[in-house]
Symmetry: C3
Amino acid sequence: MLENCLKKLRENGALVHNITNYVTVNDCANITIAIGASPIMADEIKEVADIQTICGGLNINMGTLNDRVVESMLVAGKIANDLNHPVAFDPVGFAASAYRTESALRLIDNIQFSVIKGNISEIKSIATGSKKSFGVDACSDDMVSDSTLKSVVEFARKLSKSTCAIIVITGEIDIVSSEDKTIIIRNGDSMMSNITGSGCMLSSLIASFITANPEDIFESTAAAVVCMGIAGEKAAKKVKDNNLGNTSFRTYLIDEISKIDARDIKEKGKYERF
Amino acid sequence: MLENCLKKLRENGALVHNITNYVTVNDCANITIAIGASPIMADEIKEVADIQTICGGLNINMGTLNDRVVESMLVAGKIANDLNHPVAFDPVGFAASAYRTESALRLIDNIQFSVIKGNISEIKSIATGSKKSFGVDACSDDMVSDSTLKSVVEFARKLSKSTCAIIVITGEIDIVSSEDKTIIIRNGDSMMSNITGSGCMLSSLIASFITANPEDIFESTAAAVVCMGIAGEKAAKKVKDNNLGNTSFRTYLIDEISKIDARDIKEKGKYERF
Amino acid sequence: MLENCLKKLRENGALVHNITNYVTVNDCANITIAIGASPIMADEIKEVADIQTICGGLNINMGTLNDRVVESMLVAGKIANDLNHPVAFDPVGFAASAYRTESALRLIDNIQFSVIKGNISEIKSIATGSKKSFGVDACSDDMVSDSTLKSVVEFARKLSKSTCAIIVITGEIDIVSSEDKTIIIRNGDSMMSNITGSGCMLSSLIASFITANPEDIFESTAAAVVCMGIAGEKAAKKVKDNNLGNTSFRTYLIDEISKIDARDIKEKGKYERF
């Protein structure tokens, strides 16, 4: 049950190592704290093994990439795998540059991710662009809508099977899928795309949930996505009611995560098992 | 007309590559989205050419400089020039260190900037400090006020001619000048200097406007400066009315940019052609 | 008198060089401005000597550490010492990795800090982990409470004597100690630990105060800690009154620093000389 994943996170906390970009790192840290976990941001190759060892999970986000940090991601990811720590991966802008594509594929080839999260175009690029090639046919759909849902879910399940990772595809409808189970989530607000960092914050939230619930990566990932969507709805309402703008939305979004509880998931969660 | 520059940006969007500092990068990204453009922050030398190629413009801000990033700025700037993409330059703290001065001059010597923006002391230092030397007499004025306006405008026009860039001098009065046209802007609020990043955000705003309006760099730069000033006035009023402080001002400043429209420019813009 | 330290800072300003982490750097800059000082964030080794020379003080925070920046910290710190500029040190996560411990000890061995600030576990680790070893017995207490206060104060005084730095130990009760004088501070709110950066912002605040009051490092450090605590109380009240969350708290915390004055210290400061 998704509610239990949140309860467990709130009760036990989770120490999460984030190697992320310098654009949204502050928001990622604050949302991690907001949900009840504790973030450590550390990307120096000489310390990432030590840091990962004291943490319970890892979040790798390639929003701003450079050679120094890619090597640190590789080291941290391998240690996390050795320690059986959950690892979330956000291949931000996977296809935006050859360097980004190659780096992401190096990470995928060398680290067993627990969750890979992206929008439909990032996830599709991973499926087709990987040297591993995954045996997955390209998904021909460019949006997740009710009419394309069935084929996107099928695609997500195949990619989950070949990557051994839970696949999260974000959009108007969010999809969380293992190779044989899928949850479709209809929470959220269009205002989430009016700020930088909604996606990065979701990755940090997923990492927090799976670190606290390593025994159920699928359910806890879905719980993170649902919480983010509900917080987005609440924050958007506050912004509209008070005639504010996008940066107030950012503040309220994290605020709402700091206040969310199991009852919110129960009463406001719009998700179905597919 | 300045209003049209905003309309075109809101309608068509603009994908803007920012190589900027790690202090205010989040605000720069959020203000870029707020005005209707899309930011990509990327500074790894291996990817800046690819990134610039998929974007329509470039913003180079030297708020926090290091050797790795300076080389990336050079590569990105040259590609932008090759592709005829507009390039904005913010030589933050130009004279604060020899390294900063030298780096800025390397950038100026190697990249054709569309817009160079700074306060009077930064812009004066560029005029006198450049190896190119520009043939511009030093401007003896240290503030832009009504009494010094004429000589500062003359200085800005000469510098615009020798750099082939639109020159923006910010202060109590803002000046946007080509070699033969100048717009004087009296919007803004003193509270804008009570936060970090007002200047950086203006650079990102300028980059957004000129990327969406490459056919009229002068007018679209002025539109960006007017919008920033109006948003500053509105945000300051809200902060004073509610007895808040400087960081609420930052939030409301970007909020107001996300809500600004052509009517605001028409009704609240305080600018004159000089 | 603590009030006078704030008055002097507000009247004269202070230009403070910060070498800090990329997670909370924006908040550190904004709180520095909020209290009346001016921040320069610069960490390139080729410019830190120039930058430190034009500033009046230095803040070194190791929140996110890497080899490039550690070398810059060393250079900046030595120049600051040569120029008799006050230097604050925040050994964030001192014991979290061997690299972090070694780097912090290199900094302590090579730079004469004016103030070293941390929580009880960071400060204890410094006392026991330093190669210099300081001749200080480990403090056996893991929390600062009324029952442990006497022994923690004794420990802080010894460490202050051996490091020749004012020691700040933060917690529910904050301690500011020289080798023979101690101020105990009971301001603050538990909400301060619900955001990232409370500690980093306090370091930047301390650096601002000591840069403006180099003739009295002890009193001005205490003034910074008292101001932070009062601002935390006011911000927490606003967040609770309006049913907001942790990121609104961050905004209001800095807001309150931008509004704090000597009367606040007089009326709301809860501190005693020990």
